[in-house]
Assembly symmetry: C2
C-alpha cells in the first residue's frame, strides 16, 4: 500500500539533497565551530555557509541576523520572552492575536504570571487580524507585538506589512512566527518590516529540531540560552552542525524551487476544493479564501470526530491531522477554530491537510474516495447526525 | 599526515554505530512523534527507546525523568533558570561554585539582574569545593545549589554525594552540570542524590547539539521552551529525532564500554604525565590528582601563550585546546585557572588535552615530541623567559 502523506506540516520528508548533505556531514565528522584549530575552522565555514543560505532565503542583508536554534518553538520562546524581559524597564504590555501557536501563547502566559499585561486581538471569521485593532491596542507601555505570519491550523496569512507600518511608527518591537510560512511562500524580511521572525527548517524539507530566529540588527533581546559566545553571542551552546548543514541545503532548494512548489501545491489544493462537494456534504472550509497558505486545507466535517477520521484514514495508508501535531496531546478543542466562530462540535470534526512536493493528484483522489467512506461509516453511528438529518 | 585529536571535549567523533543509526534514521524518514497516525507512532517508539537508553546510562528509574534538549547549555539554562523562576516566592538565593561552566555562570548572572542573590563558593588549589562551605552558605532564602560534577577545563570531580546530603537535609534543590562527566565516568543519579543533572551527547560520542536534563520526579522547574506538550510537557518543540536516535545508541555503547574506555584513556593520561618531565620544564598540572576525569589533562606551561601552541600544533596535525571551546571566543583568562591560583600569565599558557577511544599511545608520544619543539621555539621569542632564566 502506497503511503500518502497529507500531513506535511507535522513532518515533511527530508529532500534527497538534504539527506545526502547530512549524511556527508555525519561521515566527514566535522569538528566544533568554536575550536581554535583547523578542524574547527572547517566546521565554522560549513556553519556560515548554511547561515548565508538562510539569510538569502529570507532576504536578510546581514547573515549575522540569522540565529540557528533547535526549532520554531525555541525561536518563538527566545523572541517573545527575550524581548519582553529585556524591555521590562520600558514597559510590560504585549499585544498578540487570539490564534497564535501554543509556543507564543504559553510564552506570553508565562510572562503574564511574571507581571506582564497582555492584549489579545480577536480575528474575523476568516482568521484575519485587523491592523487597526493592533494600533488601538498599543499603549505607552507596549514593548512587543507578536502576530503570526500564517496560521498553522487554518492557513490564514496575516497583514504583516500593515502591522509593521504601525509598530514602526509607534516604536514597538514586532515579532512574527513564520514557522508555517518560511519555505512555503516567499518571505522577505525587508518587505515585511518585522524585527524578529521565527521559522522551522522542517517546513522547507529540512530536518526536524532545527530552526532559526531572524533578529534585525539592533533589536534588543535577551538570549534564551546563555553560556558560550556561539551564534554571534545571541544563542549559546555547541551547534547541531549536522542539522544546520541540512537546513542550509534545504534553504537553497526552497529559494530555487519556490515558484514551482507553490504552483504544485496550489494545483492540489484547487483540485481538492473543486472535488470535495462531490464526496462530502455538511462541511466548512476554514480560513481565508485568498490570504492563505497554498499547501493547506482545513475542513470541518459535521457530525463526526476528527480523531476517528485520522485513525480510519491511517488504516488506508493516508496520513492527515486533526490539528497541529504540537497540540495533539491536548484534548481541548482548537482555540483557532473557536476563534473563527466554529462551535465545539465542528471544531472536533476538523481535519487539517497539508500538501508537499511528494504529493500527486491521485493522492487527492484516493483521499477523497477514502474520506467519503470513512465519513459515511462514522455518521452511521452518530446520534447527532440522525437527529439533525432525520 | 595522520590527524591526532587531543581535543575530544570540543568534538568527540561520532562512533560508527552512532553514524549508522543516524543515517538509517535519515533514510527511513521518521515521522513526528506527536502525530496521531501510524508514522507518528513509529517515531514515538524510537524516541522512547532512546530515552530508555539514556535513563539506563544514568540509572534513572523513570525514563520520564529524562528530557532531551539541544545540548548541555540548554539543559543548564533550563535547570538553573527554571528552578529559580519557579521558586521565586519561596526565596531568591542561589549557591554555586567559582569554577562553573559559562552556561551556569551566565544563567545565574542573568538571574542576578532580575533580583536574585548569589553566593559563589571558592575552590581549593585542586579545584575542589568544600561541602561545608556549601552548608554554611545555605540560608532560608536559598532555593538552588548548582555545582558541576566535573570541571570542563581542569577535570576536577566534586564531592557531589556529600553536597547532596546537605541539600536534601536542608530541603534545597540541587543541580549538577555533568556535561564533561556523563559517558566518561559512571554517573548514577541515585547515588549522587541530585535533583537535576545536565549532560551533552557529544561527550559520549553522540551528536553535537543534543543533550538532556535529568529531572528527578517531583522537582519543580519551569520549562525553558514552552508550547506543545512534548517531552512529558517539560520541553516543547518538535524533537531532533535523528540526533536523539544517535544519542540513544551512544548511551547504550557508553554503558557497555564504560570500564574499557576508562582503562584506555587512563592509560594515555598516565603515559603523558609520566613522560612529560622528559619533554618539558617549567609547567604545572592543574586539577586534583585523584578526583579527576580520566580523559583530561590541563597543563600550564610558563613563558608561552597557549593560543600559539594550539596553532603551531595544528600545523603538525595535532588538535589541542587552550580551554573549553565554548569560551574560545572570549579573550579573558580562564576564571577556572585564576580560581585555582594560577596567575594571569600561566593561565594564558594553559593547554587542555582530552583523550578518546580513537587515541593511541603513539599519539601521546607524537604530541610530546611536537610540543617540546613548539615550546622551545616560542620561548626563544619570549622576553619573559629570558628575563627569568637569564
Amino acid at each position: 500500500m502506497k503511503h500518502i502523506n497529507l500531513d506535511h506540516l507535522s513532518a515533511n520528508p527530508l529532500l534527497p539533497e538534504v539527506q545526502d548533505a547530512m549524511i556527508a556531514a555525519i561521515r566527514e565528522d566535522h569538528g566544533n565551530p568554536s575550536s581554535q584549530h583547523s578542524k574547527g575552522e572547517k566546521a565554522l565555514e560549513a556553519l556560515n555557509r548554511a547561515r548565508a543560505s538562510v539569510a538569502h532565503l529570507l532576504n536578510s542583508k546581514h547573515p549575522g541576523e540569522i540565529v540557528f536554534t533547535s526549532g520554531g518553538t525555541e525561536s518563538i520562546n527566545h523572541a517573545v520572552k527575550g524581548v519582553a524581559l529585556s524591555q521590562s524597564k520600558k514597559g510590560k504590555h504585549i499585544v498578540t492575536s487570539n490564534i497564535e501557536h501554543s509556543a507564543v501563547l504559553r510564552s506570553i502566559k508565562r510572562l503574564h504570571t511574571m507581571g506582564y499585561k497582555v492584549t489579545s486581538i480577536p480575528v474575523d471569521e476568516t482568521g484575519r487580524v485587523n491592523p487597526e485593532a493592533i494600533a488601538k491596542a498599543i499603549t505607552d507601555e507596549t514593548i512587543l507585538v507578536s502576530v503570526m505570519h500564517s496560521n498553522n491550523e487554518i492557513g490564514t496569512i496575516q497583514p504583516i506589512e500593515e502591522i509593521s507600518r504601525i509598530t514602526r511608527e509607534k516604536g514597538v518591537i514586532f515579532h512574527t512566527d513564520a514557522s508555517a510560512s518560511v519555505g512555503v511562500v516567499p518571505i522577505d524580511v525587508q518587505k515585511l518590516g518585522v524585527d524578529l521572525l521565527s521559522f522551522a527548517a522542517n517546513n522547507f524539507y529540512g530536518p526536524a529540531g532545527v530552526g532559526g530566529l531572524y533578529i534585525r540588527k539592533g533589536t534588543p533581546v535577551w538570549p534564551l540560552l546563555e553560556g558560550g559566545v556561539q551564534e554571534n553571542n545571541k544563542r549559546a551552546g555547541t551547534e547541531n552542525l549536522i542539522g544546520v548543514i541540512g537546513t542550509g541545503v534545504a534553504a537553497d532548494l526552497a529559494k530555487r524551487d519556490m515558484e514551482s512548489r507553490i504552483a504544485h501545491v496550489s494545483g492540489l489544493k484547487e483540485l481538492l476544493l473543486r472535488e470535495l462537494p462531490n464526496y462530502l456534504d455538511n462541511y466548512f472550509i476554514n480560513g481565508h479564501p485568498e490570504h492563505t497558505l497554498p499547501n493547506m486545507v482545513s475542513v470541518s466535517i459535521q457530525y463526526i470526530e476528527g480523531e476517528s477520521v485520522v485513525l480510519m484514514l491511517d488504516d488506508e495508508g493516508i496520513a492527515v491531522s486533526t490539528r497541529s501535531a504540537c497540540a495533539a496531546g491536548s484534548l481541548r478543542a482548537s482555540h483557532v477554530l473557536l476563534s473563527v466562530g466554529r462551535d465545539y462540535a465542528d471544531a472536533q470534526g476538523t481535519m487539517v491537510l497539508t500538501f508537499g512536493v511528494d504529493n500527486e493528484g491521485e493522492d487527492i483522489m484516493k483521499f477523497l474516495e477514502s474520506v467519503k467512506d470513512v465519513v459515511k461509516t462514522l455518521r452511521k453511528i452518530s446520534p447527532l447526525y440522525h437527529q439533525d438529518e432525520g
